[in-house]
Amino acid sequence: MNRVQYLTQAYHQAPWRKQLQYIGLFLMGLILVALVAGIYLSVTARAATVGRDIQKMHDEIEITEREIEDLKTELALITSNRKMEERAGQLGFHPVSAEELAYVDLPGFTKPNQVTLALSPSPRVAGASVLSPEYTQSLFEWLRERVFEPAAPLMIEGLP
């Protein structure tokens, strides 16, 4: 019996050591929680900053679009028929009459009939997202796509 007591006592940890272990465990937990909270805060803050940037960019797009419209109108005002006639008159030009014209035959010349103003002939779907899935897909969506659709390409090339 004495032998058992001796062994128990021999391997029994001192109370201060136990306290240290508890404190250590608690601190580890605390650090883990702080770490997760810190990462969460950092990611959230970055997401918020990016979100705010996106909001600003939406506003900037609107402002730019209005500026484009204004500039087009300003250009049209500057080059309006009346203004151009005035400027031509000031420069000494006058409307040409039929008698002042000389016609020269240019082989291969075809008279232009109308203007072409469409800038981009590429087809676009109204309301479609302009962002590629890399920016909109969650990790789980990406994994599911990989698992259930393994033939899908790893990256979708940016559409023009």
């Binding site: 250009l75 309006s80 028929n81 009459s97 035959d105």
Partner: protein, 587 residues
Amino acid sequence: MTSENTWRYTTLGLLLTAFALFIVVQILRIQLSPQAEVFRNRGEIYSGSWRTLVPARGQIYDRWGHQLAGNTTVYEVGVELTYVQNPSTIALALNAVTGSEYDKVFALASQEPSDEAVYARLADFVTEEQKAKLEQLAAEMQTAYGRSKEKERPSLAGLRYIPHLQRSYPEKDLASNILGFVNREGKGFFGIEEQFNDELAGDPQTVWVPADPNRVEELPEVPDGASLILTIDRAVQAEIEGILDQAIDESGSEAGTIVVMDPSNGEILAMATTPRLDLNEFWRYGEIFVDSTPFNRAVSKIYEPGSVFKVLTMASALDNGSVKPDTPFLDTGAIEVGGTVIINWNSGAWGPQDMLGCLQHSLNVCLAWVATQLGTNDFYNYLQGFGIGHLTGVDLAGENPGRLKLPGDSDWYEADLGTNSFGQGVAVTPVQMVMAVSAIANEGKMVVPRIVLSMIDQGHQYNTSTQVAGMPITQESAQTLTNMLATSLEVESSVALIEGYRVAGKTGTAEIPTPFGYTSSQTHASFVGWGPVDDPQFLVYIWLEKPSVSPWGSVVAAPVFKQVVERLVVLLNIPPDDVRQRMMDSN
């Protein structure tokens, strides 16, 4: 830790736990209480806003890409009621700069801010210059009175400017009757703006925009409204409007209309009429278009065309084989059709004539005889084939179909066959006449007049194509009549002739119907002509209403045709006939 301190720590622990539990219970109580919905709704108000994404209205261009209608930034001016310091200053400033009513603005800006009243709109469509003036005033007041502690110090604090687009017309009144205008609510009225309002306006979308940047989402791309390229040539339009104004002035006419069309494809190159409106000041519409004046006479106003209509009668008869150019006719100065005696314009008898002479001297008696030779059914079938009494389908709002009484109608009488043959008793619009005559100028093929050349939608340009409305007469009949009309102008040395170019045409003088019969003191003077005869590239229709200098189309309208064509051949680069022939031979 002594036992003396143990109970203290235990008590503190219990108190803190109780406090924490109290907080948790409160949270749960609030979340589950009936008021929770109220709080949630209040929170929702500030969590974002519904925003309508209004696409920019599509542009309108002439055929060479000159902008005729665009957009410009204007501002809505409002106040955030919480920040208002002096409503009187705000009302005074807006009254001085934008002309807003002082009392109205003062009342709006004086409202007590509350959950329901946060912002008040004071003025809209404030220009960039006006906004700059208001901002300058605000800055000057801040400098002068910013440090003052006086409660009633002048201040424009609280003013907010919200930008948006409004329609703008850089060419002012040029082609105004074709374009129409857009009102403050963004709705198109008259002309192209009304006809293509849905396409130009685009499709606005309302989306929820969260204030929380963590919840921000990509805004949908709202495509701008479709843009239109018109068949109108700005330079030609300006020139024609100038000529028309001068013609109205010189002839003492009440109003006038000139339409220029390419008869081979229906493209309207110019459509000038009166009155015109600076579209940037569309609110003056009621002041300018008084007494139901149509916005565009060329498509909306019907009238009895008179002798220009004879070309349709003669075309029908030639096509039908009832007459030939050399068919003889003895003009005795009068003919009875359906019990009505028809006489010539000068009440005279012109003796032996052929069909060329009938057209050259514009003999009513002869043309009434031609109509009788053609027969009632065929005559009206041909007129319907020419589109008389029907809409042409021109892509402009407010087109009037005119009126062609037909056998069987309650108001049709046999005498109408005679009067209709020379353009009386039938009501048409200028654009209807242009379409009908295009069949003669275009080798029998009648083309639908069109104003829109292309539509640009989301990066694509869609071109319209020529629409043939029918072939009322054969190519041979069209060529025969064209030659007859060209010769008749040459034989009588008409003032409509243009040196170097062979043109075909016909004058018209119509008496005006009144409730008491026709008045001969006031007339409608017209001219329709096209050329060059061997390859028609323009068709010109002129209508002068109630000219006071002379009632005759040959005196007031024919010289206008000459003026128009002299400018057209330059602006459209049409060489004289001999040069063109030489070029064709060399190629």
